[in-house]
Symmetry: C2
Subunit: 425 residues, 2 copies
């Protein structure tokens, strides 16, 4: 029985395979491979007993089990109150737009990003992103026909406000400035650059946008904000920076990485009522509300302190794992072969730069050799808005246990050494 | 601080408020109102102890708690196997396309419908629907700029294949046939008509579509298939009907209504590999996978029989509730005033037809009087693809408990009597 061919929509035609499919396929086909690729979370510290105890408490609380009933599209009021309060506290109570009515609970922060993009952008529109940026978001954009455009950086990879102003003026000259519909910032322990944006650079971004009258929505991703190793970063969210008062603001967060990624619950806070409402209405079409039950578990965990206890455990585990991988790469002499990276203060990645014009892409000889040696990574070129440099790699230390992290680090440096010229005298 | 105005996308501009917002608002503002409107599920039979026991078992099973880790976009393999097997069994093992690889787990069946529509339709495209149809799906279509077009029915409200053929030929004459991208059928205890489509009428639909060479995807919604009161309906799904072999087929299902709506897990089975893949890729952009944890609970419940035990409880509760509401309306003499409805064999609704040209719409005098009397319903005109008849109402008996169901029924008939002329001699 042959099926008729289907004439797909615009979105259907753009629905390409995820870029990392090939990379993940390699890992699945070769079980001995140690993966420093996927951004999975530390499995052994997942909050099994918290979740079990929360559930038992919830299910034994008596009364009508409303948490097993449909919830509302916007999400549980109690959870939204806690989210608003948490953001407010993180900003030292300097932000005035954190109200439960501005909060929507979503299927991970990913859904919130998707809703924002659906409501703001038509195919051919532009979203300004950092260079590099979160590759899953870049794929989301491409899936909707939206063009990510990188904000210029200096030779250290830091945002260059002057270069940014030049870019925007160029767009204006090309009559393309009106296609810019938003700016996406991954402000803390960014995936993949591992850097934090301080208030100064955020304010500089606001100034440049104002200078060309481009007061478009600012989408700030706080996915890793709470995953600092030792102390929180001193920066505020855009909600607490007066420089952004004239911009519609959105802050995205998740309970996945800090607590349990199997729950798939996140949120967005948005201080533009019209934009919030439209995103809410589209979410209504998507699913008319995220799982009420999962929200209830997280809400209880936040209320009774389990969430913060788990977070403290997660932080120390990621710090430890980072030290292990970082330390192994150092000890094996990777830096001596011209490879550089910063030791991060939080997050789940190392962002490593290879020497010169090295090609680390997924079709490169280096990548193939790494696979043969039994280790994989995310090629950095996938993290750039357009044709990006090929000499970066993203290493994720979140999943592997100590022994395997060391092994993986050693295998990686072995490949590095294969590709090195003679050491400098 | 005034915010800049935002220039929204096409989807953003179409993102209107849900039609039932006003109705729900009325209920929220008047707590004494008894709602026969929203399709919520029976709260007191929600599977609290099942969920608690499943969770304790899961969390005590030892080993790495993979169920609290990120899952895959397509969903847990074990759950997909169970879904495939369940559909196959429901079709008496007559269908050959039920394979776990054809199954995707989604955030309720709603997300699966949304993905299908995103991938198949551009704004201005047409989806053929029953008349009446599931109003939440009609809203989803409008949110994407897709036009729902009702398949003609006879005076009993049954699908009229000849009228359908005439409609399709007319579309062809208007050069609009190529805009038809799919057909949506709510085949069992339909929301709101409460009818089941038997194999004969489904095959007739296939014949008419083939007669104009319109072998477009058929989207069959099985949301209520397992919510029969006494015995399963004898019809097969389209997967088991040879008449549909040349059509891409999709079957949508959910664990929400049969088990617990707070979990928000559903699925789609699709036998067209290309379409499935595109839907999967877009889901990757939406959320890269539904909650792994919630899936694990449902998977366990299916495996160990808790799900079927809960389903048996739910069936008997809904049957009982239906009898109570139906019985009350009968005893109060509603039929004697020219109101008619069929007693359903399953599902969660009564589909009631008022006399003559009665207007039961949300702005009608009847609706206002019902609100004053303390009862609300879903106006039937919301359930039609285009300008629909205004003399229908949908009554949901799922939520209210016995006493309140009787009260609600009595209040409704009181309003009916206010609007009646003298009884026939």
């Amino acid at each position: 029985m042959s099926k008729s061919s289907i004439s797909y929509s615009g979105v259907g035609r753009m629905a390409g395979r995820p870029v990392i499919t090939d990379i993940m396929k390699v890992a699945l086909e070769n079980p001995e491979i140690l993966s420093l690729a996927a951004g999975f979370t530390d499995t052994h510290s997942l909050p099994v007993s918290f979740v079990r105890d929360e559930t038992v408490a919830l299910c034994s609380s008596g009364g009508a089990p409303e948490y097993l009933q449909y919830g509302t599209t916007i999400g549980r009021p109690g959870l939204r109150r806690l989210v608003a309060r948490r953001l407010s506290r993180a900003d030292g109570h300097q932000n005035r737009s954190c109200h439960p009515d501005n909060v929507m609970i979503t299927n991970g922060s990913q859904q919130a990003l998707y809703l924002a993009m659906q409501v703001l952008c038509d195919p051919g529109d532009i979203i300004l992103v950092e260079n590099p940026s979160y590759f899953v978001f870049l794929e989301l954009l491409k899936g909707l026909g939206i063009e990510p455009l990188g904000i210029p950086v200096d030779s250290d990879g830091r945002i260059d406000p002057d270069g940014f102003a030049v870019l925007l003026k160029r767009l204006r000259g090309e009559n393309r400035l009106s296609r810019v519909k938003g700016v996406y910032l991954d402000s803390w322990y960014s995936n993949p650059s591992t850097r934090c944006l301080d208030n100064g650079v955020k304010e500089a971004i606001a100034d440049v946008l104002k200078s060309v009258d481009l007061r478009v929505p600012i989408l700030e991703d706080g996915a890793y904000r709470e995953l600092y190793f030792r102390t929180p970063h001193s920066s505020s969210s855009i909600f607490a920076l007066q420089a952004f008062d004239e911009f519609p603001r959105l802050f995205f967060g998740t309970f996945d990485k800090p607590f349990a990624s199997g729950l798939k619950i996140g949120f967005v806070i948005c201080d533009h009522a019209g934009l919030f409402r439209k995103m809410l209405n589209v979410k209504g079409h998507h699913d008319f509300g995220s799982s009420n039950y999962t929200q209830a578990i997280i809400q209880n965990a936040l209320e009774n302190g389990s969430f913060d206890r788990q977070l403290a455990t997660v932080r120390s585990r990621y710090k430890e794992k980072m030290e292990i991988l970082h330390g192994t790469m150092l000890e094996e002499g990777m830096r001596g072969h011209g490879w550089t990276w910063s030791k991060p203060d939080g997050g789940m990645y190392l962002w490593v730069r290879g020497p010169g014009n090295m090609d680390l892409g997924k079709d490169s000889l280096f990548f193939k050799s790494a696979v043969e040696e039994g280790v994989i990574y995310i090629p950095g070129d996938l993290c750039f808005a357009s044709e990006g440099p090929t000499h970066y790699m993203r290493l994720s230390f979140g999943v592997l246990e100590r022994k395997d992290l060391i092994r993986a680090g050693k295998r990686l440096v072995k490949v590095v050494k294969q590709f090195s010229g003679p050491l400098p005298v």
